[in-house]
């Protein structure tokens, strides 16, 4: 048996290529652009409602070179990263403790659910009074948005830790900290990362909502500016930028996932 190497036929090469995440993402992007251009040409909507890709690209370059886009983008980025970090860490922490105590979970979860269903606008004055009109209240809103999906997936992930392995750890007299590090963390990681995927995407929305409620910086504010000045191309630039931000965060988590969960890949026969 010497012919164990897989020959690189064109078909195999194509398969390899399409299994690469970024290749498909780029294809999807191109597809989307073409669709947009077609829509624009067919529907003949006024530019105010649907600008052409070229117009938006133009606006993108202008707002990039004027520093406008970067200024607002960096502000939103900061909010999103802080919010994601704070929200998901707190969620993971709380999730861990809740999973250890059924009565604590039963006591706390009504609050959590309630806190998730309050629209930000309803409590905006209270937020401003308590946390000021600065970046803090936006990061708070963003953290709150991230919090819940990460928390629930932490709880579910920890519950799914195999009982057999818990027994193994106990038979090895592992401390709670060791059990967390060596068993619970890796075992609940797949589900936790799923929560983080949702959380990262929502964090962008959270930051934008915070900015829309009251702010003078960030991509959410830029959307408002564009809408207020009937500059739809600017709105598109802001929206596409935040889409890209969300996609980048998502991609990063997928990358992390494929690194951390490499053990899940099942070896094929040659």
């Amino acid at each position: 048996m010497t012919k164990l190497q897989n020959p690189l036929t064109p078909k195999v090469q194509l398969q390899r290529l399409t299994s690469q995440r970024w290749v498909m993402a780029v294809l999807a992007l191109l597809f989307g652009l073409v669709l947009w251009q077609l829509l624009w040409m067919l529907l003949k909507l006024p530019a105010f409602i649907l600008p052409s890709p070229a117009m938006v690209w133009q606006k993108f370059l202008v707002s990039l070179s004027s520093g406008l886009l970067w200024r607002h983008f960096s502000f939103t980025l900061l909010e999103v990263l802080l919010g994601l970090l704070i929200g998901s860490s707190l969620a993971a922490l709380l999730g861990y403790f809740l999973s250890k105590s059924a009565w604590l979970e039963n006591f706390v979860s009504p609050y959590l659910v309630a806190s998730q269903s309050v629209p930000v606008v309803a409590i905006a004055p209270l937020l401003v009074i308590w946390f000021g009109p600065g970046i803090f209240s936006k990061v708070l809103i963003c953290s709150l948005t991230v919090f819940f999906p990460v928390l629930i997936n932490t709880l579910v992930g920890l519950r799914e830790v195999p009982q057999d392995l818990r027994e193994l750890m106990r038979s090895l007299r592992a401390t709670p900290a060791q059990t967390l590090r060596y068993l619970e963390l890796p075992a609940s990681l797949p589900v936790f990362l799923g929560g983080l995927r949702v959380g990262a995407t929502l964090s962008v929305i959270g930051a934008i909502v915070g900015e829309l409620v009251g702010s003078d910086r960030g991509l959410g504010f830029l959307i408002n500016v564009g809408r207020g000045q009937y500059d739809t191309a600017l709105v598109f630039v802001a929206v596409i930028t935040l889409m890209a931000l969300a996609a980048a965060l998502y991609g990063l988590i997928l990358l992390l996932e494929s690194r951390l969960l490499a053990w899940q890949t099942w070896r094929k026969t040659v």
Binding site: M1, T2, K3, L4, Q163, R267, K268, T269, V270
Partner: protein
């Protein structure tokens, strides 16, 4: 023994290698053998030798790297194999009863039929009273018996058994062996069974295949000419001892050839 040597299973030049980061691990190397219809064949070989890999290839779970597997017997519309995995592989959300009845549900049998056939199997493997237990409430041996019952309940043409009795105590093991022989005798199945017990192999089989270390080949194809039905006394007859001796020697030889098993790779 079946009078006309019809072939149930034909393996020709079967090679299987797993992709590894730094090359590939050859597990089976150019394996060829046939199994006659209604025969009972036992496979014996070293741990990590490739027995489970062979069975998984036979039941279509692995694509061979080279060679072919055929089920030439005309009565087989498609390969109707039933498999007992080395692990019990029970569904944790199904009760014992529902785990055993799974193949029947998949086959779309009627409620009554399922109820009856499953209950029969449960009684056969001595698990009456545990119908509503979940897998995590069963002992190791009980779980294994559930797996055996699940493979038998579907009444397949070819039974592939991967160490089905590994976690059973001596008595239960003997009883399960007897039951298997009875079912095989009554319903005339083709059985290919992996076992680690030499005496069990000889007691049950028409033929014993001894496999070498990885990459595995068949080093001995031993017909067991003991008459059927087999009895407990046969175990103490010289012929039985001679056969056991042969298998044991062959295994030791294979073993000596590479005193400490290490991994060999094809880069």
């Amino acid at each position: 023994m079946p009078s006309s040597p019809k072939i149930a299973l034909e393996v020709r030049g079967l090679s299987i290698a797993f992709v590894e980061t730094d090359g590939s691990l050859e597990v089976l190397d150019n394996l060829s053998f046939t199994v006659e219809v209604n025969s009972f064949v036992c496979v014996i070989g070293p741990s990590g030798g490739g027995k489970s890999t062979l069975l998984r290839a036979l039941s279509g779970l692995l694509t061979p790297s080279a060679g072919e597997i055929r089920f030439p017997h005309p009565s087989h519309i498609g390969p109707q194999t039933g498999m007992v995995f080395q692990k019990p592989n029970l569904m944790p959300w199904r009760t014992l009863f529902d785990n055993i009845s799974l193949p029947l549900e998949l086959a779309g049998r009627s409620k009554e039929e399922i109820q009856q056939a499953t209950q029969e199997m449960i009684d056969l493997v001595g698990l009456h009273g545990f119908e509503k237990s979940y897998p995590h409430e069963l002992s190791g041996g009980m779980a294994q018996r559930v797996a055996i019952a699940r493979s038998l309940v579907q009444d397949p043409e070819i039974l592939l058994l991967d160490e089905p009795f590994g976690q059973l105590d001596a008595l239960t093991r003997e009883r399960m062996g007897e039951e298997l022989l009875r079912i095989w005798g009554e319903r005339r199945k083709t059985v290919l069974m992996v076992t680690h017990s030499i005496s069990e192999a000889i007691y049950l089989a028409d033929r014993v295949l001894v496999m070498t270390r990885r990459p595995a080949q068949i080093s001995l194809d031993l017909p067991i000419t003991l008459p059927r039905p087999r009895t407990e006394e046969m175990r103490y007859q010289p012929e039985f001892g001679r056969l056991a001796q042969l298998v044991h020697e062959q295994l030791s030889q294979n073993d000596d050839a590479m005193a400490m098993p290490t991994k060999s790779k094809v880069a």
